[in-house]
């Protein structure tokens, strides 16, 4: 059994569907943070069978985690301070996603002007529909 130690301050992202942790690592831009990150893959889970877990040791204000809701609303977020869970954060669909997902429409202006930020807005909360603010193309759920 693999043991990963406790963190003093940061997040534990639990119940990540197995195999999705590296995607989350990428979309939260964790590679750009100078902090300790533990990626646990294929941990046993009563609920999911197998799951991934991410532990991120950083200030709790650093990350915007709502984008996780777009990926999978089943992910649970535990906020840790002084080595104890101080909050189980509920994920809400963000009104806008900026610089995380890319518009795949080859006719979109973002396909030729590289410096433009890729921005999607939530146009249908029930169906979790996000559309590119420029061309209104629907985000197709494919993150890469």
């Amino acid at each position: 059994m693999l043991n990963v130690g406790k963190i003093d301050e940061g997040f534990v992202l639990d119940h990540i569907p197995a195999g999705m942790s590296l995607d989350i690592y990428k979309y939260l831009h964790l590679d750009k943070l100078d902090c300790t990150v533990a990626i646990i893959k294929n941990a046993k889970s009563n609920k999911l069978g197998k799951k991934d877990i991410l532990k991120v040791e950083c200030s709790v204000d650093v990350l915007d985690l709502d984008v996780l809701a777009v990926l999978n609303q089943g992910i649970t977020v535990n906020v840790i301070k002084d080595s104890v869970i101080v909050e189980k954060k509920a994920l809400e669909l963000p009104k806008q996603i900026r610089g995380v997902i890319k518009c795949k429409n080859p006719r979109c202006i973002t396909s030729i002007e590289q410096e433009l930020p890729h921005i999607f807005t939530l146009t249908d909360t029930d169906k979790k529909v996000y559309r590119c603010i420029y061309c209104e193309e629907k985000f197709n759920g494919k993150w890469s």
């Binding site: 429409n105 006719r107 979109c108 202006i109 973002t110 396909s111 030729i112 002007e113 410096e115 433009l116 249908d124 529909v129 559309r131 590119c132 603010i133 420029y134 061309c135 209104e136 193309e137 629907k138």
Partner: protein
Amino acid sequence: MRHLMRPLDFSVEELNALFDLAKDIEFNRAKYAHACDGKILATCFYEPSTRTRLSFESAMLSLGGQVLGFASASSSSAAKGESVSDTIRTVSCFADICAMRHPKEGAPMVAAAKSKIPVINAGDGGHQHPTQTLTDLLTIRSLKGRLDNFTIGFCGDLKFGRTVHSLIHALVRYENINFVFISPDELKVPDYIIDELKEHNIPYEEVISLEEHIGELDLLYMTRVQRERFFNEEDYVRLKDFYILDKKKMEKAKEDMLVLHPLPRVNEISVEIDDDPRAVYFDQVQYGKYVRMALILTLLDIKVD
């Protein structure tokens, strides 16, 4: 300062005011002949267009203003890699208002965000073409006398046809409009538009045969299958002649049904029906100029007594 990016940028009341102004221009041309003296319209066209660009230029010239601009990306700094944002910042120094056409969707919106002058979306890829919509609405209002209570058929390329998308968006705000979408499976209306109709409980049908449904229609909006929207020439050739409106089909249409078309036509409307009084696509062109004159005055906030 206001821009026009989408047909819904104007409320129904604002559109009514715009159409009233266009009507006044139609019947009192001399009154508006110097309304834009000293003003300059920039036409920034990154892809070829005859009708829209000339319509904008004619509209500004008829208001007493002047025009400058470019008619293709190759004759602008875009050929050197200049961004739309930088181009509009430059154009803002030379003109009072800009009409922009761009093959990439959302480009005029990017321009508007950085512009110091009103920007009019004159067509962005397969996305929106609001001034064509204003033209279509003015044509329908002028010739039908109303913008509600009718069944409208859209026929042809409903997937890439931006004029279709824009007109549907505009018409959903009026009462009791029934939509009949007539297209081959490959060129059906995009899902986001269908979602919007469902959301507002607006009746629509998606069918393939024009002949079987033409008799139900009060208005028929024909479109061209556009070569420039296809990545694959083979698909274009297969679909371009799918619908041809001719005398035989028109015999099944109501006597007061109107045929609209954003033009240019290729062969989807046979020339044999051009003299049919129900064929109003060339009247549309004239209304297009009046509505662009009204739009320029409105965005420049120029009142004529």
